[in-house]
């Protein structure tokens, strides 16, 4: 009994540590007062303010586009990388390559950001929207590759062989058999890349240029001038979006699970 009480305390403290700051942020986004730390009653003022803050809205739009485009490119490239690493076991230096794909995961973002900046400078590329996309694609690609790679490792290759055996050429086999079956992993990779791009501050700030201010950069620069409740409002919306995504994903998983169990029961019953 004593133990379980101890467990409960630890659990509560842990969750409190994680969620109290977020809850405070959400509560204060509905604060009527301009002072961030003083409660002045409930109001939606800051959401209205946020909506009419053109700079903030522009930044949000830039971020959304950057995230969608870079996540999509990263997903294509990452999936190809994963396929190559899992399937072509005979290429020389495969081990080195598969090790290298993990490097961006542990590399400090500052270094990734800086090295990309140096690259763009040396190539004399004007920094802006597309350099941010390239930078985000570069670092999120490896996450996609890892997610897809782990799915491919458990993929039953006899499915592809069966397709080939039935007269389906290799490329068509990929689109008819392999891709539909690894799609959940590919989508998960896309979601991961999208989220990573969405909240990246460091790499974007190195590689952005005029007219391509992303939301994290905008928030960061505004906070330096003092936290306004508008920021709380936009953060609350972001949290809401992420929470919705997580809930939708878990409902989908649950549904699949239930359906799978029902299928199995139906199969067992004949």
């Amino acid at each position: 009994m004593k133990n379980s009480r101890f467990d409960a305390t630890v659990l509560t403290l842990g969750f409190a540590f994680l969620y109290i700051p977020i809850i405070i942020l959400v509560i204060y986004s509905f604060n009527a007062s301009r002072l961030v730390t003083v409660w002045g009653g409930f109001s939606l003022t800051w959401y209205r303010e946020m909506w009419s803050n053109q700079g903030l809205m522009d930044a949000a739009w830039v971020t959304a586009r950057v995230a969608v485009i870079s996540a999509t490119i990263a997903t294509v490239l990452g999936t190809l990388a994963a396929l190559t690493l899992v399937r072509f076991r005979k290429i020389p230096g495969r081990l080195l390559f598969s090790g290298m794909i993990y490097a961006p995961l542990v590399m400090p973002e500052v270094i990734t950001g800086l090295s990309l900046l140096l690259l763009f400078v040396s190539l004399n590329v004007d920094r802006g929207f597309w350099t941010v996309i390239i930078a985000h694609t570069t670092f999120s690609m490896c996450y996609v590759a890892i997610v897809v790679q782990s799915r491919l490792l458990t993929f039953d290759r006899s499915l592809e062989e069966a397709a080939l055996d039935l007269g389906c050429p290799p490329v068509k086999t990929f689109f008819r058999i392999t891709l539909p079956l690894i799609l959940p992993a590919v989508l998960a990779g896309w979601m991961l890349a999208f989220t990573l791009s969405l909240d990246d501050l460091v790499i974007a700030s190195f590689n952005t240029g005029p007219g391509a201010t992303t939301l994290p950069i905008k928030i960061y620069s505004q906070v330096r001038l003092g936290v306004t409740p508008e920021i709380n409002a936009i953060c609350t919306i972001l949290i809401g979006l992420v929470a919705l995504g997580v809930i939708a994903a878990s409902i989908a998983t649950k549904r699949n699970e239930v359906r799978r169990q029902r299928d199995e029961q139906a199969a067992a019953a004949g």
Binding site: D156, E161, A162, L166, A267
Partner: protein
């Protein structure tokens, strides 16, 4: 083999006819994976409409051989001919063979119907024809009412049928079956074995089956190739393989057998006295033509069901007989296996059909018994 052994399933034996042309020919095939030789300079002919089994323990190269025919592996050396055409460089999707995979490899995201239609769609057949063929296949494997189901909604036996239907839908010249019944329970497996042979006879296709299950190979096939470490030990009909194995390996691999090592005392041919062996005191005479000469170390092999078990001594006790006591009894329902420990310490296995009910069975542990066998019951193996 001069005399025919065992039951004959059908009048079909192109391999005995020197004029018949092999349908599939493996010619000096070697396959190496790095330093490991999976298949070692193997030559094998398979005839049209034959149900041929590759039998052996895992790692003997049987699956590799089949995969080379399907086009998933290229031979390191040698060539594979199908109807006289060299298959080298022909990718799997252009070969007139279809395979039923051990794991069935059904496409989980497609319905039963779509799975069966997949191969036909690749041939760009007209839609009506595809539908007709799918219906025909569903009927063949008795799965008409499951057409719209996904593989995950089927039982193991049903999945196996879908896999079979899918691999037969394109009417391949050769159907390759990779351990097709391994995942089924015993009863279903037996049923399916007979269905497979029926199907093969009605469709008139050439079937090549890979299996490690000797019972399965014996039930379904016209001929069996027993493989070990990348080479073929013996190619023969199931009855010949069982009754006249050519080596200790084949004898031991197929069924249960007593193997007694000994030296050749004299060898006078089957009609004039047979082969006489001295197996450390136990005298054995076998009526058999055998290439062994006096002094050679050979093995005498005899199936347990051909060993007679008696309480009274047989009329001839000097040769092909021994006295001992019942050491262990394995009751297997349809028959019992008696392990008899001879007085020299040797253990001989004798099978007795349980024709009478259990209560009447007189022998028990420790009983003094005699074992003996006739001069043509066993076999001298030189390899």
């Amino acid at each position: 083999m001069a005399k025919s052994l065992g039951p004959v399933k059908r009048k079909f034996s192109p391999w005995t006819d020197p004029a018949s042309v092999p349908f599939i020919r493996f010619e000096n095939i070697t396959k190496k994976f790095g330093n490991f030789t999976a298949v070692d300079n193997l030559t094998l002919d398979i005839y049209e409409r034959e149900f041929f089994a590759l039998l052996g323990p895992s790692g003997c190269g049987k699956t590799t051989l089949m995969r080379m025919l399907a086009g998933f592996e290229e031979p390191t050396e040698g060539r594979i001919l199908l109807q006289g055409k060299d298959l080298a460089g022909v990718p799997p999707y252009r070969r007139p063979t279809n395979m039923m995979f051990q794991s069935y490899a059904l496409f989980p995201h497609m319905t039963v119907e779509k799975n069966i239609a997949f191969g036909l769609e690749q041939d760009k057949l007209p839609k009506g024809e595809i539908e007709a063929r799918v219906q025909e296949m569903l009927k063949l494997v008795k799965l008409e009412q499951f057409a719209k189901r996904k593989p995950s909604q089927l039982s193991g036996g049903q999945r196996q049928r879908v896999a079979l239907a899918r691999s037969l839908a394109k009417r391949p010249k050769v159907l390759l079956l990779d351990e097709p019944l391994g995942a089924l329970d015993k009863k279903l497996r037996e049923e399916t074995q007979f269905e497979l042979t029926d199907l093969q006879h009605t469709l008139g296709l050439t079937f090549l089956i890979v299996t490690h299950d000797q019972e399965e190979a014996m039930t379904v096939s016209d001929r069996i190739a027993v493989m070990d470490k990348g080479v073929i030990m013996q190619v023969a009909t199931p009855a010949e393989i069982y009754e006249a194995p050519n080596s200790r390996y084949v004898a031991d691999f197929i069924g249960d057998i007593n193997i007694i090592e000994g030296n050749v005392v004299s060898n006078q041919g089957a009609a004039t006295g047979g082969v006489m062996l001295d197996c450390d005191g136990l005298k054995i005479v076998v009526d058999q033509e055998c290439p062994a000469s006096t002094g050679d170390r050979v093995a005498f092999a005899i199936r347990p069901e051909k060993v007679r078990l008696n309480i009274d001594p047989p009329t001839e006790t000097a040769v092909n007989a021994g006295a001992g006591e019942v050491y262990d009894i394995g009751y297997l329902g349809d028959f019992s296996l008696f392990l008899v420990k001879l007085d020299d310490g040797r253990i001989v296995r004798a099978a007795q059909a349980n024709i009478q009910r259990l209560v009447d069975r007189p022998l028990t542990f420790g009983d003094r018994v005699w074992v003996n066998w006739s001069r043509d019951a066993g076999l001298v193996l030189t390899r």
